[in-house]
């Protein structure tokens, strides 16, 4: 889960890292109040979870409260690369004497943690690495010992940061470990003329799997159907097409989306009912998919490993009875294979629901579902 800048900075503060004084506003008048309270020139920053805000005009300087109100009016509601700014962070403008870069991340390839620190901050770190590789220190972090004071001093030295930055590097590591973050990035981390080290920006990604041991903010609400699916414990991602897709196992469902696309149609969603799904889970899944008005046909693709195909078939039959009454029925192409497939096919055959067609192969089923969506 990616945090907004203001949420990341709250975590930084909790761990003793200095950030500029400021507050979050969702209206221009709130921005004005915050600026008045700060009593100094401010920066108004769009809160969106995507890079490139500055270039898109989402970060604006304002000398006082009136200007802050005006700038907030321009930034609030702005669409930045597909992300709408519903809030702005209004902060005391802080002049850097020097700008650095600091990040900790999970190195998937090595299955380890990596520190990336540079004496050049405020720009894209990939660019810095390409143009002046000597200015970027990439140092593996031992997961069992972490970053202590000595390691932090070494990191600062390797990257060419002043010694007073070491304390901040150590505290940023604490954010990484104690908050179960997958990424902690500060760009720029600055030194002020008085020698203070301040995190001027902040990007933090938290691990949803670790939510049980934290009191982090809940993930922001997404599209309505995605929330409903999550409440039912289903893994659902809304897409742009017209063929609804449901299957068991993330890999098989991704593969099914690809096969539907290969058959010339666009998938309407990703929906994984998981391993060992019951009839109820299958019924819930179909209910979610058929609630999407874009869906013209549905492809159910199940390979029974743990999941039993007769349970899937029973779920389809019971869902159709229920959904038919609500007028939500649409053609459903079913491919069942593997564990108890014969029994599952028989259940569907005997129910003889007019909306259901069975196809023995994944490729054939995708073609039929694509054709039905095009003809609908």
């Amino acid at each position: 889960m990616d945090l907004y800048e203001h949420q990341a900075k709250e975590l930084f503060q909790r761990h003793g890292i200095e950030v500029p004084a400021g507050g979050v506003a969702t209206t221009p008048s709130e921005a004005r109040e915050i600026a008045a309270r700060l009593g100094a020139p401010v920066v108004v920053k769009a809160q969106v979870r995507i890079g490139g805000r500055g270039k898109a005009g989402g970060i604006r300087a304002a000398p006082g409260p009136a200007a802050a109100e005006q700038e907030a009016g321009r930034v609030l509601g702005m669409d930045i690369r597909g992300h709408r700014a519903h809030a702005v962070l209004v902060e005391a403008a802080t002049a850097p004497a020097a700008e650095y870069y600091a990040a900790y991340l999970v190195d998937r390839a090595e299955g380890a943690f990596l520190a990336i620190v540079s004496r050049h901050g405020g720009m894209d770190i990939e660019e810095v690495a390409a143009t002046s590789p000597d200015a970027v220190a990439r140092v593996p972090v031992d997961p069992l010992t972490g970053v202590d004071a000595a390691t932090a001093r070494l990191l600062a030295e390797r990257a060419g940061l002043p010694e007073e930055a070491a304390g901040t590097l150590e505290r940023l590591w604490r954010v990484m470990v104690e908050e179960d973050a997958l990424l902690v990035e500060v760009n720029p981390l600055i030194r002020t003329a008085e020698g203070r080290i301040v995190a001027l920006d902040g990007k933090v990604t938290l691990d949803g799997n670790a939510a049980f041991r934290h009191d982090h903010p809940a993930p922001p609400p997404s599209a309505g159907l995605e929330d409903r699916a999550r409440a039912k414990g289903l893994n659902y991602v809304k897409l742009d097409g017209r063929v609804g897709v449901v299957g068991n196992g993330a890999g098989l469902v991704m593969s099914t989306l690809d096969v539907v696309a290969g058959a010339g149609a666009a998938p309407a969603n990703f929906l994984d009912i998981g391993g060992g799904a019951s009839a109820q889970v299958m019924a819930d899944g179909l209910e979610i998919i058929l609630s999407d008005p874009d869906v013209r046909s549905v492809l159910v693709n199940v390979f029974g490993g743990i999941t039993s195909c007769d349970a899937v078939a029973t779920g389809i039959v019971s869902a159709l009875d229920l959904l038919g009454e609500r007028g939500l029925a649409r053609p459903i192409v079913v491919r069942l294979d593997g564990n108890n497939a014969e029994a599952g096919r028989r259940i569907l055959g005997e129910a003889a629901h007019p909306a259901v067609r069975q196809v023995p192969t994944m490729d054939g089923a995708a073609e039929l579902a694509a054709g039905l969506a095009a003809g609908a």
């Binding site: 999970v106 069992l144 997958l182 799997n209 893994n235 991602v237 989306l257 666009a266 490993g305």
Partner: protein, 294 residues
């Protein structure tokens, strides 16, 4: 022969007395696995009854190993206890630890990898485990959809593993390994490619990947440098949108990195043929081996 798991493997199950543990222990036994012990803290001294076989339960992995000589552990404990369970297995020491649990925090996965380095091979977390058909099964891969044979299979995805095993059931597998779909896993595609290359009972390799990270790209480089046996591959997730997690925690395209197309390109650049669908992948393998469709 096979890789990592053979008929001589002595398997213990951590979390055997839980619902999932019980259910899958019964399935492992039915698949011919020599399940010698269960471990549940605080429940040592009991016996779990699985029809024809009674399996002793121990309070710790160390006790179970001392009493039974177990050398494989399959972990079914909930996410918050997984790190501690694996620590126990590593300390015992158990040479192969298969972590089925889904939802393990990434920090715990990184730590358990570091703890196990050089001592215990970890498979998973969030994986279906592995099976050497006709010999042993450690995990939840169904045993009755395939047969013993000479194909080595490695995959991030459970159901795609099953799908391919099923499509190739007439040829059969030496070992099929589900390495798991999390961002950080103990055993990688490369580890399995290396083991299959060295396994005299494996003639050809099927590698299944999906979006996220660059494990497939690295595997491609490894194949070019070290693998002489035929390899075919499949990659899932061409239609996945950027920035969305597709079911598996690790299945996410970030910017332009981790795309299915990049993985396919990397594999094809080193001569690995990549199927557009699971069925086509199975057909490619038959072509490579000069076998006809049954």
């Amino acid at each position: 022969m096979a890789i990592f798991l053979t008929k001589d493997s002595r398997v213990l199950v951590q979390g055997m007395t839980g619902a999932e543990g019980t259910r899958h222990t019964a399935r492992m036994l039915a698949a011919g696995t020599d399940v010698v012990a269960g471990v549940t803290p605080g429940k040592g001294g009991r016996t779990a009854d699985f029809g024809e076989r009674a399996v002793p339960v121990f309070g710790s992995v160390a006790d179970a190993v001392a009493a039974t000589g177990a050398d494989v552990s399959v972990v079914f404990v909930p996410p918050r206890f997984t790190l501690a369970a694996v620590e126990e297995a590593v300390a015992a020491p158990i040479p192969l630890c298969v972590v089925i649990t889904e939802g393990v925090p990434v920090h715990d996965a990184v730590r358990l990898r570091a703890l196990a380095a050089g001592r215990t091979r970890i498979i998973g977390p969030n994986c279906p485990g592995l099976i050497s058909p006709g010999q042993s099964s450690a995990g939840i891969i169904p045993a009755d959809i395939t047969s013993s044979g000479r194909i080595g299979l490695v995959s991030k995805s459970g159901t795609l593993t099953y799908q391919l095993m099923y499509e190739l059931r007439d040829l059969g597998c030496s070992t099929a390994v589900g390495i798991g779909g999390d961002p950080v896993v103990g055993t990688t595609h490369i580890d399995c490619l290396q083991a299959f290359q060295d396994d005299p009972a494996t003639d050809a390799i099927v590698m299944i990947g999906e979006i996220g990270g660059d494990a497939e790209e690295r595997a491609a480089a490894y194949v070019a440098a070290h693998v002489t046996k035929p390899v075919v591959a499949y990659v899932a997730g061409f239609t996945a949108p950027e920035g969305r997690t597709m079911g598996h925690a690790g299945a996410i395209v970030s910017g332009s990195s981790g795309t299915a197309q990049a993985k396919k390109n990397a594999l094809e650049a080193v001569g690995v043929r990549v199927g557009r669908t699971p069925s086509e992948t199975a057909a490619l393998l038959r072509t490579v081996l000069g076998k006809t469709t049954p």
